[in-house]
């Protein structure tokens, strides 16, 4: 009697392509996946619980470590929520510094995504090119804030350090360098027929699905829905700069790829304008008391991180420590569509689809 059985396979917590300690339990019928269940929590560190016992300034280093690939946006989401609750004025120079730093971070994060995605697909060189160029951004951040990955740079009311001499010129030079490099990335990969045949038509979902699952960022824009928090609910000084929001049409991996690369180009555009308009002098810290005590109340403030919409919900009862702090993490929400996308795919496409959703497990688990 010949009998086929369903195979239960563990794409284990340790795996080169799951971008961190993340587990997917798949039921295989031959080579085809019939059911996939993500299991997360291997990197849970209890940030939200710890935050109930820390003052707002002390929470900032913890936010760095949530989405470690784009730490500046994490810093900003917390600081922004507190500032909105306390209605603090931020000085002009601090706003500009924050904007420049966040856009540079967006480019760096997309570079990490690009390099590792192509490494999963099998090309080894783009990984090194992406990291070579990202090294320049990291060195800029090193000069600005003193650290390469976990910056602890923003404070409630402004930023901690002012830009050192010559830093803005370095940013300007980086922008022109990066424009050439972006063309090189396109020449190396985007036209490659092998690559295109691997990602076109894979992992498709409709705009209605995307909205139902609560996706955000490039995962939502690839289906044609034009939603970018920098344009729809402007924060910081984004409303002063001209930039486009790239939108895809089909909702497959190829569109997500192209949307992210276009976002890098638009970030470079914003950076150019910001560096032109950078104010000469000014304070980097607003009028804030030594002890930060937001009034009792609650607030949810969201911004556009490279992965999607990241939000911070604070319930304050008037003390210097929050009563409850919750982060709406984009990777956690974006991951919910994975079981639906994987049904009917082969194992090879699992890696392609998981990579294109762009998750960072530190953010999934918090």
């Amino acid at each position: 009697m010949v009998r086929t059985e369903e195979l239960l396979l563990n794409v284990g917590p340790q795996h080169p392509s799951t971008h961190g300690v993340f587990r997917v339990v798949v039921k295989l019928d031959g080579e085809v996946i019939t059911e996939a269940t993500p299991v997360m929590g291997y990197l849970h560190r209890g940030t939200e619980k710890l935050a109930e016992d820390l003052t707002y300034t002390q929470i900032i280093p913890y936010t760095d470590r949530m989405d470690y690939v784009s730490a500046m946006t994490n810093n900003y989401v917390l600081v922004n929520a507190v500032e909105k609750l306390m209605q603090i004025e931020i000085p002009e120079r601090a706003q500009f510094l924050r904007l420049i730093v966040m856009e540079l971070q967006r480019i760096a994060s997309h570079m990490v995504w690009w390099g590792t995605y192509l490494l999963d697909i099998g090309a080894m060189s783009p990984f090194l090119f992406a990291f070579r160029d990202r090294e320049q951004i990291i060195n800029l951040f090193n000069e600005l804030s003193g650290a390469r990955l976990t910056y602890n740079y923003m404070r409630v009311g402004g930023v901690k350090w002012d830009a050192p001499d010559g830093w803005i010129d370095k940013v300007r030079r980086f922008v022109s360098y990066m424009k050439e490099k972006l063309e090189e990335y396109h020449a190396l990969v985007s036209g490659n027929e092998i690559f295109l045949s691997r990602i076109k038509g894979v992992g498709k979902y409709s705009a209605q699905d995307a909205i139902d699952f609560g996706l955000s960022g490039a995962n939502l824009r690839c289906t044609g829905v034009k939603r970018d928090l920098r344009k729809d609910e402007p924060y910081c000084i984004y409303d002063r700069f001209e930039f486009d929001v790239p939108v895809g049409t089909n909702g497959d991996c190829y569109d997500r790829y192209m949307v992210r690369l276009e976002e890098m180009r638009q970030s470079l555009r914003i950076l150019e304008q910001a560096v032109e308009q950078f104010p000469e002098g000014g304070e980097i810290m607003g009028k804030v008391s030594r002890v930060i005590r937001p009034p009792a109340g609650e607030i949810y403030a969201a911004i556009e991180s490279p992965r999607g919409e990241i939000g911070c919900y604070i319930v304050s009862n008037g003390k210097d420590k929050p009563y409850r702090l919750k982060f709406r993490r984009p990777s956690f929400v974006n991951l919910q569509i994975l079981p639906k996308l994987l049904v009917g795919e082969t194992m090879t496409n699992l890696v392609t689809i998981l990579g294109s959703i762009d998750i960072v497990v530190g953010e999934v688990d918090c």
């Binding site: 600005l144 901690k160 090189e184 190396l188 036209g191 490659n192 027929e193």
Partner: protein, 147 residues
Amino acid sequence: MKGLIKGLGVTFKNMTKKKVTYAYPDVPIEMPERFRGIQHLDPEKCIVCNQCARICPTECITLVGKPNPDPEKKVKVLDTFDINFEICILCDLCTEVCPTEAIVMTRNFELSTYSRDDLMKDMQWLYGNNTNVRKENNAATAKGGAK
């Protein structure tokens, strides 16, 4: 076909460009001025105000003060000061709040040891760690900013 050939062109041209390999550890890496490395402590300057221990997000600083040996002065003096480098995240908040700049960061970052016990550094060691000391330290507090 065209995409494949363009890709080949890009990798070929990269062969002639400059290599970005650092020759570390043969050549030490120069970190920029503001780099947050291992702390340096000057016990003379410390006034035992406990701000650093209170602001530390991971509670890795423990310090004990003792009454001043000089009967004229009222200010306490440091008896012991330990930083547990197993949990110190080099976040720089302690140097930000120190009113006398007794604790400052250096640009050293090599802290690997063979045993975890060696990672609890005491006052002696922190005082001795005095190369590459960072000059600018309290940016936010100097402007009267947040705690």
